[in-house]
Symmetry: C2
């Protein structure tokens, strides 16, 4: 079977040569373990942070070891009483075709309830991230203006829709006309700005946010966010989920310091990672599932095919190639 | 009588020529008004912000009008039933020797309870600012590490002491050896760093904060704060009260963007102004007064004498000349 190791720690924008493909034996399993055949792999911007050897909220990937992330797979063999061959599971597994794992470290999913890929997207980590960041930190109120950057991405697209469900006016910032149409026409955003073709983002924001910005859901950082910060209303809230523009910078990420902005508007900014809310995942999953069933929460997936294209799909995240959740399809399930 | 007007909007560090001294008639009062003779005037860093013509949390000062701020004065004449000649009052009044004001817009203070100047310091706006910023946003817990910048100033010195009352370990950052001694020997700070003589503030902070930083009370901004941000613990809180290092910058205040720092530590940053908490001033004043009476909360005042020295005292704030509250004494009370 094939697996992908971290060959070196990327400097700046990662490239293919930061990854090593390797052939190895399919592992054998012991008592309490299952062998999982990888069906879909999730690639996510936060993985860039784990490629750096620095203190952060998750352990850095080790050099010359298999990279890991969210995986949907099929149980190929089981020595765990709760799972049998053919079951579909989700968990944090390696970038490899098969993984041996403790049965209790994966979660069985029911393909009848929703497409299995949703457990890596709207009903998985990105959905939970959007839910808690927006509702717990952003706390949008009816009639308020919510701006979200990275708006067509896996997290941003859900943030905007939850904000709509809560009665807010929603403005998205994204990087292509296709994404802008998607946000406005498919997801019902009230306005959306293509930052790549905008001459003056600060001014365009003023036009589409005539009442200022009450919540800014931060996915991108950099100059886009600098522009949004001009428009924060008194007591604005800024959930800080990501800063994708900074992840591949070799130099420090320099810009206007935020302190005076926060003082002027008595604004709150709070970083978070989804794991901060692990005790409340049940509540959120129930709510997200309900909204999906009711048709209030739509989702899109960009699926690249083939194990060999995993690095490419990952690198595409930083070029803004995906709409919604970026996945890689590795294999078809074999069934029970 | 004399008064001081804003002559022009300062560019960069303000100077004497930004102020105009003017002689005028002592105003006469109407029904419901009192004539207040200025005894003590407060000069505060936030006033720099009001000298700029920009949207902020307070109205900018108008050009060629009298500058205003906190004043302790004596009622010289009264046509307001709640006040009589000789009463001592505090309020937002002009930089002038006498002010005519609605009696309901000043608050009578009892000189028997505490020195009247405390109503501009520990029992006034700076004390309330420290109280709400630290307790409501910072929420220090017993055994946690609280770092405060501008630590020897009117707000910072109270922040550190309240943090000690709450059982935290307190580290101050200030700009002279005299201030450092004051913080450690008079106020009982656990450690204090003179940023002006520090070769490597980031490293010195690591030494005096072996368990990291749980609360950073922000008064100064700039590179001092950049250094503190390296040490934020998971779920750290940063009340943003001031950024005095930025107030006189002619160019934009540029530095490392904060987003990735906040994500890594799931940290919270919140700007505030004391007015956000006006409905709770009563509760805080009671608590602050109790701590002062119990000797748990000490305060220092730097008092410059003479009306003509008001601009000088104000400018001194940006040179770090004051320990504790900077006041200007304008006149002695005449008594009833």
């Amino acid at each position: 079977m094939k697996q992908i190791l971290l060959a070196k720690r990327p400097k700046g924008m990662p490239g293919q040569d930061d990854f090593t493909f390797q052939e190895t034996e399919v592992p054998s399993i012991g008592e309490g373990e299952v062998l999982v055949k990888t069906l879909y792999l999730s690639v996510d911007p936060y993985m860039r942070g784990r490629m750096v050897d620095a203190k952060s909220y998750v352990e850095p990937y080790k050099l010359n070891e298999v990279i890991s992330g969210g995986v949907v797979g099929e149980v190929a063999e089981s020595q765990f009483s709760g799972l049998e061959k053919g079951d579909i599971v989700v968990g944090m597994l390696g970038w490899q075709e098969y993984s041996a794992v403790q049965g209790k470290h994966v979660r069985k999913i029911d393909p009848e309830v929703a497409p299995v890929t949703t457990s890596l997207g709207v009903l998985g980590m990105p959905g939970l991230t959007a839910y808690f960041g927006l509702l717990d930190i952003g706390e949008p109120k009816e009639g308020e203006t919510v701006v979200v950057s990275g708006a067509a991405g896996a997290v941003g697209s859900i943030v905007g829709q939850i904000a709509k469900i809560k009665g807010a006016r929603v403005v998205g910032i994204a990087g292509s006309d296709e994404k802008i149409s998607y946000l406005k026409e498919e997801l019902g955003f009230d306005a959306a700005i293509n930052y790549k073709t905008s001459d003056n983002l600060k001014k365009e924001l003023a036009e589409v946010c005539p009442d200022g910005v009450d919540v800014y859901f931060e996915n991108v950082g950099g100059e886009i966010s600098d522009a949004v910060f001009y428009h924060l209303n008194k007591f604005a809230r800024v959930p800080v989920c990501g800063a994708i523009s900074a992840y591949n910078k070799e130099e420090r990420d320099i810009g206007p310091r935020i302190q005076t902005t926060l003082i002027k508007s008595s604004a709150l900014m709070k970083g978070f990672v989804v794991g901060d809310y692990s005790s409340r995942f049940g509540e959120a999953s129930k709510e997200l599932g309900k909204w999906v069933r009711e048709g209030k929460l739509k989702y899109e997936e960009t699926i690249q095919e083939g194990f060999e294209n995993i690095p490419d799909a990952f690198l595409g995240l930083f070029k803004g190639e995906n709409i919604g959740k970026q996945l890689v399809k590795v294999a078809e399930p074999e069934g029970k």
